[in-house]
Symmetry: C2
Subunit: 345 residues, 2 copies
DNA sequence: GTGAAAGCGCTAACAA
DNA sequence: TTGTTAGCGCTTTCAC
């Protein structure tokens, strides 16, 4: 380690600022932090602020954290990054945090089953004032671990019992819009590839599907519903099962997910069925994949990035004690009309 | 703020551990940090480690950072998260950092043009021991800013003059493999959609394209090469220009990027040309998009995640002074054969 | 309105 | 081999 005093370009500290301004460090601190209770005279304030500016003063966050036991860092727990929904959420969360002077730390959470991981995460909690939990699966083990750590957190993407702070999509409404779009195009035999693992997402979308059918007076045909889950293969298999067993095949399908939709289209193509000529397809959540698919996929766009943003801001409010509970539902952004649905009127 | 002493569950400190073990804090510190020079007696070591375990002692990282001016945090500067390449890199980097006791902080870098952003980032450098820079574009302004901040950094994904630490792909070899695959299938009129902005990637791929042609004794036809850049639209436009002007059209195309490939296929379809029947397509870099495209895209897979991992580990070595320079080239993982190329022998 | 002083939890000289 | 000591840079009570 080099001798500190001989360093050519030491970063300036609060003491430097105070000295240059001719005041005590405590005064400088108060002024720079905008202390409401003990206001300083306009004149010293000017001097201190000037000094801070000339020295390009940046507070040492570790010193501050040590003193205040606040880190000004949010952690975001993500199970996978290659899912566009998470990427969007992270992007938004970073912005939301940054706007309020916080940073975002990535806490990658391995898929459940990797026993040690949740515990491992806890060690990291040291470093954050709060946690944003994003997980599609209903990983209650992880949730328990977070609760035990007694760190404020906001659950994104789904609502869970016993969790105080949640921000989630109105999946039911999104599904309703998707299916309603198909109905508007004249479709009446509409299949649904549904979820299984995650209650709030899967159930919501199924409910929205039923809502739309009911509103249009179309009876629900159980033969047209099958479980795909959230994977490409799941989507392919589910639509295949439906086509295999349906006496009167559907003219349209609503897979609950981008992945499931991609899989379904794959399977459709493999059977020689063309989209949208032989089958219309629509799903919920938009992303780059939707655009590059062939044909480009029509979707109901959801505010994923906005959810990250709101999550970060809400979490900070919780941390600061400005708010006790968060329970917010985000509405779909609307129809992204591309080329996988067609009117059969 | 609650009275510290009355808190029911204060986190235990080094002082607590020392007290329980009946030694001084400095001794405890040395033991827990595995000091090589001043070894402790086996007996006290046992006591201290035992005490640490019973108290579930976790060092306060801010106190440590304040003292050592090390943060044990890496920053990763990403321009976009919805690009699968970056997502993969981040995933790998997080793992690489975590394995060595570091955390990963996201530093989102707005697209160049947003004047304030690079500067804004610098403020964050406070919080990190080093930076992983990932940017496809040749954003030298950003690079300058990072250099000025005098923070160790590793440049990922490309090599740049005047940068000491780089880890990058062997784009030339990847391109060679891609084009060679087409040649093996009997193609001789092979178009290339090339880059423009980023020297190391774009030039490398073009060079690999030329290499492969030359190795097969196929003369380079400038009519079959056009600039697409890295976007979907760029890919669509470039292939269109080539088809419009070529007297004898290509039977295959090698767009330099997933995006460009997606755009090219879009344009091909719009013209009524079928892939791979009328035109074979192959590109470099694999990702979920490649799988869900129709037909699924054949690619040369690249070790993006591995690059993030190696980047993090190398950066930590640089930070720790274990290594002075990093210059590593990563080889393609190989051919991911799907359905966009066909033999015309 | 401002300064003095203590201390957050830790590490690393130095002394014993 | 172990303990003493100082201090990283900051905030915050308390006294003036």
């Amino acid at each position: 380690m080099a001798d500190r005093s001989s360093e050519s370009h030491r970063r300036s500290t609060l003491a430097d600022v105070a000295q240059l301004a001719g005041v005590d460090v405590s005064t400088a601190s108060r002024i720079l932090n905008g202390d409401k209770i003990q206001r300083a005279s306009d004149e010293t304030r000017k001097r201190v602020e000037g000094a801070a500016k000339t020295l390009a003063y940046q507070p040492n966050l570790h010193a501050r954290s040590l003193r205040t036991s606040r880190t000004y860092t949010l952690g975001i727990a993500v199970p996978q990054l290659d899912n566009p929904v998470y990427s969007q959420i992270i992007l938004g969360a970073e912005r939301g945090a940054r706007e309020l002077g916080y940073s975002l730390l990535i806490a990658h959470v391995d898929q459940p089953g990797n026993g040690e991981s949740a515990y491992e995460r806890l060690a990291q909690l040291n470093r954050v004032d709060g946690l944003l939990i994003t997980t599609l699966n209903d990983d209650s083990e992880m949730l328990q671990a977070v609760k035990r750590a007694k760190v404020p957190f906001v659950l994104l993407n789904r609502k869970a019992k016993g969790v105080r702070n949640c921000i989630y999509f109105d999946s039911r409404q999104a599904a309703f819009l998707a299916v309603d779009h198909l109905i508007q195009q004249g479709h009446r035999r509409i299949a649904h590839l549904s979820g299984q693992v995650n209650p709030s997402t899967g159930i919501g979308r199924y409910a929205g599907y039923c809502d739309a059918l009911e509103a249009a007076g179309i009876p629900l045909d159980p033969q047209l519903v099958d479980v795909s889950g959230y994977t490409i293969n799941g989507g392919a298999e589910a639509i295949s099962r439906i086509l295999d067993r349906a006496k009167s095949p559907p003219t349209a399908v609503f897979p609950l997910t981008l992945n499931a939709a991609a899989g379904a289209i794959m399977a459709l193509n493999a059977r020689g069925l063309r989209v949208p000529k032989d089958m219309s397809v629509i799903t919920v959540h938009d992303g780059p994949i939707a655009q590059v698919m062939h044909p480009p996929l029509t979707t109901i766009d959801m505010p994923s990035q906005q959810m990250g943003y709101e999550g970060a801001q809400a979490l900070i409010q919780v941390i600061q004690g400005d708010v006790k509970r968060v329970d917010r539902q985000m509405q779909p952004l609307g129809l992204k009309l591309r080329q996988t649905t067609r009117s059969i009127r």
